[in-house]
Amino acid sequence: MLERVNLQIASGEFFSILGPSGCGKTTLLRIIAGFEQPTEGRILLDGQDVTSVSPRTRGVGMVFQNYALFPHMTVAGNVQFGLRHKGATTSEIRQKVGKILEAVHMENRADAPVPLLSGGEQQRVAVARAAVVEPGVLLFDEPLSNLDPALRASTREEIKTLQRRTGITSIYVTHDQAEALSLSDRLAVLHDGTVEQVGSPQEVYDRPSSPFVAGFLGNATLLRGEIDARSRQLRLGNLVVPLPSGFLPPHTGPVVVAVKPENVVPVREASSLNPLVRSVEYQGFTTSLLLNLEGQDIRSICVTSTLEVAPRPGQSVPIRIDWDRCSFFPKK
């Protein structure tokens, strides 16, 4: 299922593994934790080969998607579980548990039984339980997916703060691009069991290495066209579009252009691009449009207040596409 996965994660880094469901990201995480064995390949931790080391002694903490809290123990009982097995003294345990519960704002619920906690509270206990033993690596398996959207944003910030403060190297698996972009120092995009791209969030977002990454991370539309090198023009069906001066596309000939919705801007003045409006979705702060250009669908999103005209479905609207911000890939 996983192939040619080669990742190096620096000490203290917050690293995300991003991909659609079924791409193998959870499997990769479970292999790192030691719950599953790779058929080949190695896992190195601090330069040590830990591939055959049991999860018990690997020194890897994990925050499970369903939290996996022990229902018959209190909050404190859950959090001190790992410390006990590391042979910490009672005073040490009390001090560390108190500190970590404070860090996740659960100091007042230390004696609460786990089943009485809300989803957000359970999530924070799960993080505290994994982090309190100060593992070499802290693994997160889509920890926010069971929370409601409002709680998700605030918990995201808390996780980031906690990681900064403790400096624990963290690997975070998610299918939510916003989570990966906002949390990570670097991230890897996984697709069908292979790594498509590794880099900082800005790098990966601005310069996707494949149409898949552009589509998955930037929600980009993929347009098929052809670039004429000499006239520096892009041909889209019957349309011929001049590329901006000073912009040199990396490929010529048949290409796939990944166009992010924010780079498709409705304008007031006349334009050579006048796609048909198929649908308008008002989202409050932003408005998104589904347009049809020369038989190809293309998405546009813009801040509602900057919209100079109110596009209606069935009409055509003049647009500008910022080609120098698009990604060009050779067409296979």
């Binding site: 719950f35 999860p55 018990r56 994990m62 499970f64 369903n66 809290l69 018959h72 579980f81």
Partner: protein
Amino acid sequence: MIRRTRVLEIIALLPLGAFLLGYVLFPIVTGIIASLSVEGKFSLTRYQELFGPGSSSLFESIINSTVVSFITVSLSALLGIFIAFVLLQLSQRTRTIAVLVSVLPLAMPPLVGVIALLFVFGEGGIVPRGIAMLLGLDRPLFYLEGFLAIVAVHTYAFHVYFILFVSTALQKLDASRIEAAESLGASPLNVFRNIVLPHLRPALLGASLLTFMSSMTSFSAPLIFGGDKHFLTTLIYATKLNGDVDLAAAQAALLMVVSATFFAAMMFSRDRGREESVGKGVSRYGVQKLSRAPRKAVVTLLAILLLLELLPPTAILLISFAREGSWTWQLLPGEYTLENYSRLFGDPSVFRPIANSVLMGCLTVLVTCVVGVSSAYAMSHGVLTRVRKVMDMVLSLPFSIPGTVIGLYLIIAFGGPTFMAGGAVLIGTFWIMPLAYVIRTYPIVLRSTCSSLDRIDGSLIEAAEGLGAGALSRLRRIILPLIAPGVISGALLVLILALGEFVSSILLYTPSNRPISVEILSQLRGYNFGSAAAYSVFLLVLVLALTFLSNRLARGDESAEISGFNF
């Protein structure tokens, strides 16, 4: 709309109310009153007699029953937990077969299990005889009798409770919980002690209580193997046979209190142990596969145990083909014939008990369905939902009353003309046994219907209502079709239990109305082993077929867990 629904609920409650008052409460109250009155006046004489001097047989029987029950629970737990864990070491396909074999003892009707063990390990049984012949002795080295035999029969049947309870609990154990503990540094032993065991605790408690209760109220095994030793149930039976019905009523009251206490404790532990739902993700118990050598050892041990479990039914099958009188001193019967079976269906007088049992079984199913379904509906809709838990307890209580007690109290209550029987005497008529069966089994249909009703998504009903369906139409077109599999699987279970019922039948039967179980006993007493075995095989095949059907219908239905029925 609301008013019409109310009316429907009240109508639905009528059969239950009438049944509970007239046929459950009335006999119990009459029985207790009988134990409390001497010549029409209130008196505690019988209870003083119970605990006073000269009542050594009661004390003896309490001690005997308790000791047997404790040993049964310990052995059953040992055996059942072991099997449940080893089952997880098997591959999927072998496990399916092994599970089927391991729960077989529970499918054996009470008396059949006892007789099967008698044939294999009893004084003249195949195994003791075989060992004696092998060693050249003229007397068997050992055989099961008395205490040991009763404990063996009980363990044989009741250890299955532990298998079922523990297996179910293990399936519900979230694997990520174990992984979390592992990654926090817990050793396998630690994981077992801190995570697995606490998770199993409610299941172990439930299985222990059920086993203890079943063992205390067991009748068949003490009757056949008890000899001159008395147990609570056989003491009541003996007292009644001696003609002192009122003293028997007092003894029965004692047994009923013991049994009801354990039943209430069991219900309580079940509610406490209900697992809070876990989130999504991997949720199977990732039992670590043992390494090769120990795994081979435990699996071999399991195979031996399962073969041992198969011995008794195999022996019954073999002996059912034996020519009568051909099995006296030999290791195995000398001559084989189909005669026992051809008589079963050819000879009207031999076929009679089968016809009786089937007729009474069907009648029982009919009544339990009417009472069970209508009251389940009433309980899950409207006013009664508020007192649901209490109602659940009250309605399930007859389930906890030992068959011996029900039989005896029915004799007392319906031994004279009553309003409930239209002024007639029910004892000695055809109707008394189906009544006993209904009392003993209706909680099953009630339970299975309730759990089916609970699982109906409330939005379905609302959707139907929004589409204009009235209360009656919702009931007929939405609710009934959805609960049908649950009801039918419950009804099949009732049929199984009614067909094999022995404990109250032995007190209530009339010569013309003998059920299969009573006939098996009388054939056994007449040393017609072949006939007794043929009846048993017939019953066993019927029960297995019905169990199979019921399981097919109730796939994934928790109410289908085989309910405790008293041996």
